[in-house]
């Protein structure tokens, strides 16, 4: 129970990004003639309490006031965190997107870009939104990022943190008395069955909140003029990475905080197809102009996770859009150089050579090329690659090490 409680606790305080929706398919008609069938900014729907506007600071005495206090402390930690990306241009861009989607809630939401790998964003009831760089490298265009940010705004507008907290508290309150009664009656088995049932229903409630946030996210991004097809597209990327990962852990849906990526993909695909809208922007060029000069460090963070199978898929996707990008080709080479499956050395050499011939490869491309060539016994070519590296990056911090490798007896 302790583990379940810890999970619940984490769950109630910050809802993680990932997001999709369900029946009945909502038809969003944004073509002008008819008003949208749902108003994504309405907060008193689908189980939400309507006692106050999201973002209005709750009274100190209330349970929601307690959640806000805790998240205010989290915000203080984020502000002083070494992982916070302080780059003004990037922050202006992300907050601008938040505002384009959040409408009347724009000024309530404070976005924090965190340099952390993995696909994630989160939303807290006090208006703190986290956007991880692992999300930024996975989106192919602005529309995909808008899909995830819209989902987070959905959590905020519907005050999901508060709803989840109350649901979990009320259900565990019931459970303890039930457990005592059954223990007193000395009836076997019943307690276990009901306990699992109640805990399962707490998680199920959380998954429903995710589905609702998915639906709101889709509505918000479509209303802002983005192509609804970007919503299933980002989930397709997640599913493809998941399926490629040989170390993917089996996870039971029963205790899952989110619906499966596949469910989200399928539901959102249906919903996106049913969304009629005139503007279908991707914002791909604008997005790339911001992210491209910044993404190499973020990709290195991903690489450090050593989830090579996932990264292989991610890079293949990005390379489809930018076949001539030297940084992406270099990272592909790194995946193969470090993974070491049969045949990876040859793939790494191909990738590093492609990188060297592409646009703006990092100087480290030549160092990595040299390292693989040493391994395959091509010492002269390796030394030439090392020399290229030192010529391109004369102040390299590992200069002495590389010089020691050059000309070293085999």
């Amino acid at each position: 129970m302790t583990r379940a409680r810890a999970l619940l606790f984490a769950l109630a305080l910050a809802l993680a990004a990932c997001a999709p929706p369900a029946e009945p398919p909502i038809v969003l008609d944004l073509s002008g003639a008819t008003a949208p069938l749902i108003d994504p900014y309405r907060f008193g729907e689908g189980g939400a309490t309507t006692d106050q506007r999201p973002g209005a600071r709750p009274a100190q005495e209330t349970d929601e006031g307690g959640l806000w206090m805790r998240m205010d402390r989290v915000e203080q930690d984020l502000r002083t965190s070494g992982n916070l990306v302080r780059d003004p241009e990037l922050n202006t861009y992300v907050q601008g997107l938040v505002c384009a989607l959040a409408g009347p809630y724009c000024s309530d939401i404070r976005s924090y870009v965190m340099r952390l790998p993995a696909f994630n964003a989160s939303m807290a009831p006090n208006g703190v939104m986290q956007v991880w760089t692992g999300l930024l490298v996975r989106c192919r265009d602005e529309a995909q990022l808008a899909a995830v940010i819209g989902h987070e705004i959905g959590h905020y507008v519907r005050r999901h943190s508060m709803q989840l907290w109350r649901d979990a508290r009320d259900k565990t309150d019931f459970l303890v008395f039930f457990q005592i009664a059954i223990a007193a009656a000395r009836v076997p088995f019943v307690t276990d069955v009901v306990t699992y049932g109640v805990i399962g229903s707490i998680y199920a409630f959380g998954r429903d909140a995710e589905r609702e946030a998915d639906r709101i996210g889709l509505a918000l991004m479509a209303r802002a003029g983005y192509d609804p097809a970007a919503v299933p597209a980002i989930w397709r990327q997640v599913v493809r990475e998941d399926e490629a990962d040989r170390y993917r852990a089996f996870r039971t849906i029963y205790f899952a905080t989110h619906p499966t990526p596949r469910e989200r993909l399928e539901t959102l695909d249906l919903l996106a197809r049913g969304t009629r809208t005139e503007r279908r922007e991707s914002g791909a060029e604008r997005y790339r102009a911001i992210m491209k000069p910044r993404r190499l460090d973020w990709l290195r963070d991903e690489l450090a996770l050593r989830r090579f199978d996932r990264m292989e898929i991610l890079l293949a996707t990005l390379v489809e859009d930018e076949p001539a990008a030297g940084d992406l080709r270099y990272m592909q080479g790194e995946v193969y150089r470090l993974r070491g499956d049969p045949g990876d050395e040859a793939k790494a050499l191909d990738a590093f050579r492609a990188a060297a011939a592409a646009e703006a490869p990092p100087a480290e491309t030549h160092r990595s090329l040299g390292l693989v060539l040493r391994r395959t016994g091509e010492r002269a070519a390796a030394d030439a690659a090392f020399a290229d590296y030192l010529r391109l990056k004369p102040a390299a911090e590992d200069r002495a090490m590389i010089e020691a490798l050059i000309g070293e007896a085999p």
Partner: protein
């Protein structure tokens, strides 16, 4: 912020029922003619309520009240030692200096966690230090020494929970079943306090409090809790 330490404290809670175990490296506070000045860093505080089912709900109003009461009790206890409590305020108009302060506070959190690990968990005792409290934040704390004209900085981390009416009822109903192994816990107090010499950076006193009692919502209770937390505090 200090979650890992909190987890450790809670482990300690399961092991030890009611304890306060101070360490000190000085015999008395050293200050000036008029008595030493002690800077009170922002208290990391949360009061909460244990729901019937055991979920712990943070309580903002209680926390605010307790912060005020604790601060008053601290000032009183220090006055008894001829020391003056100096309130901390973040440099509002100087982001660069504010960032330095933030990092000093975080450095202190990290050192505090290390002390909790290596001095309160016998299996993690360091061979080179043993039971000797020998930790320092380093000379950069002189920044606070100069800005607040203070000799020491006192930092406090405190978590305090109370059982709700529902929890009390559940405990009462469960009590007769204790022979079946059914047992429910109520509230608890866990706290950590440390004193740093702002002229040198050295941690000169440290204490950890763990117990299943205490009350921070009344002036008398706060005074008693703070006095227990400050056990062994240098005179």
């Amino acid at each position: 912020m200090i979650t890992r330490a909190l987890a450790l404290i809670l482990v300690g809670l399961a092991l030890a029922a009611c304890r306060s175990d101070p360490y000190a490296t000085i015999e008395s506070l050293v200050g000036r003619e008029a008595g030493p000045r002690v800077l009170l860093m922002p208290i990391d505080l949360e009061l909460s309520e244990v729901a019937a089912g055991g979920l712990v709900e943070p309580k903002a109003a209680w926390t605010d009240t307790a912060r005020t009461l604790m601060t008053a009790a601290l000032a009183e206890l220090l006055a008894e030692r001829r020391a003056t409590l100096v309130p901390y305020s973040a440099p509002a108009d100087d982001p660069g200096r504010a960032a330095l302060h933030d990092q000093l506070i975080k450095l202190h959190d990290t050192v505090g966690e290390a002390i909790l690990v290596h001095h309160y968990e016998p299996s993690f005792r360091l061979p080179g230090k043993g039971e000797r409290l020998d930790w320092s934040l380093g000379p950069p704390v002189a920044l606070l020494h100069h800005e607040f004209d203070a000799d020491y900085a006192l930092s406090i981390f405190f978590r305090d929970s109370y059982k709700s009416a529902g929890r009390t009822a559940a405990m009462a109903v469960a009590a007769p079943l204790s022979f079946l192994g059914v047992g429910l816990s109520g509230g608890a107090q866990v706290g950590v306090a440390s004193l740093v010499d702002l002229r040198t950076g050295a941690v000169v006193w440290f204490n950890r409090l763990i117990r299943n009692q205490g009350e921070l919502r009344s002036a008398d209770g706060a005074r008693e809790s703070v006095a227990t937390l400050l056990e062994g505090f240098p005179p």
